[in-house]
Symmetry: none
Subunit: 131 residues, 4 copies
């Protein structure tokens, strides 16, 4: 379910954070369901528990999971997170479009770029997701 992309130049822990948060947002991992234990996942991916731990710590900091000492880590309710994330994206898009306008980028150019940038991500992560 979770794979590490060796060609990806980003650190492993960052990849893990993205993969997991993705699965939660798409509701593949349901609220309150248990995450694999740090050691289990480390063994499965053949990486050190430290790196998994780091990813989990970041996921917890961002509100995607909650950890209970001695019990394990669990998927948090990501709905409020999603809402906040969306509204933030929209406000950044607004700021960005203003700068685009002032840099002489036309509406057509801007909208087209938005579309092709978006599709680039679908392609890039689509493959990984189907594994």
């Amino acid at each position: 379910m979770i794979f590490i992309d060796v060609r990806d130049r980003r650190p492993i822990y960052e990849q893990l954070v993205e993969r997991f948060s993705d699965l939660m947002i798409r509701d593949v991992l349901k609220t309150d369901s248990p995450m694999p234990s740090v050691r289990t996942l480390a063994a499965e991916l053949s990486i050190t528990p430290n790196t998994v731990q780091r990813a989990y710590a970041e996921l917890e900091r961002q509100g995607y999971i909650y950890s209970i000492k001695g019990k394990g880590s669990f998927v948090a309710d990501t709905k409020p997170l999603l809402k906040k994330s969306r509204s933030r994206i929209m406000s950044e898009l607004s700021e960005l479009s203003g700068r685009a306008y002032r840099s002489g980028i036309s509406e057509e150019e801007f909208v087209n770029a938005a579309g092709s940038c978006y599709r680039a991500h679908t392609a890039a992560e689509g493959g990984t997701r189907n594994d």
Copy 2:
């Protein structure tokens, strides 16, 4: 040519920076043409020379104008600036579209939002530009 929007909650010097850089990017103000002197502009806009000075300092820092002691300020060549600005906008748009994708925003929704955000800026600043 330059107007201050009293309803705009941003500081005046920031408005001036935006208005001037705008005129340069749209090539209304040509490279090497002289900027109005600090005192002249301050008198015209009925604001303190200090505020104009601050705007000019910021424009110089950003590379939009250059100053020659005893002669005044002049419009810089903004083409390289523009190129850098555009490529930065595109890379931010790419990063943003990835986050949109991962937040469950569809391509259609993202592209539509890009368009309407852009048009919001055209409407808001359109009046100033035609002067």
Copy 3:
């Protein structure tokens, strides 16, 4: 005895939870005395029984009331609840004062703020309580 503040922007069920828990903590509502039935209270306040139900469910979850099927809801013993709540408040106050100290807030400023914040709540809720 129970009023809804239409100007209060919080959801009605949350207001109900606060009003009731308040009355229990101040011992206006005694342990084991019956709560008004869901339908009665809903009619009295001209709100839907659903909202009252939600407030009661929350009060039960927090330990303020207990429900007996077919008989109704009753006020729980709130003394242990109170003790826990107080000790939690004190530990949060301790944590907060540490952060205040480290943010350069003086003892005088902190203590004064504590007092005026407290009085703000007395004023705001004073009216409701006397009814």
Copy 4:
């Protein structure tokens, strides 16, 4: 200047974050001045560079320092941070005082507790600071 308290049960990296942010807020460490390098500080404190790195990462995340790869870490401008921190503390104090009021804690009790909690922190960290 920086010491680790072995009796402190909190993790070392957390102590480091607190000590450093403290020094910045009290303006002992000035904006843009260089932080000791990760390796230097690790050697000085006889701990592993990893732990220092972790503390620096947290300080950067919180906005206290900024790091430039290959150049080092530097003290950030903490003034806006301070302002935000203070306003947050005040709003939490307000929320807390409301809960105190509703838990039957009197104004006098609350204000006194605020004072003695505050003084506890002065005492606890006063000694460390003078070293």
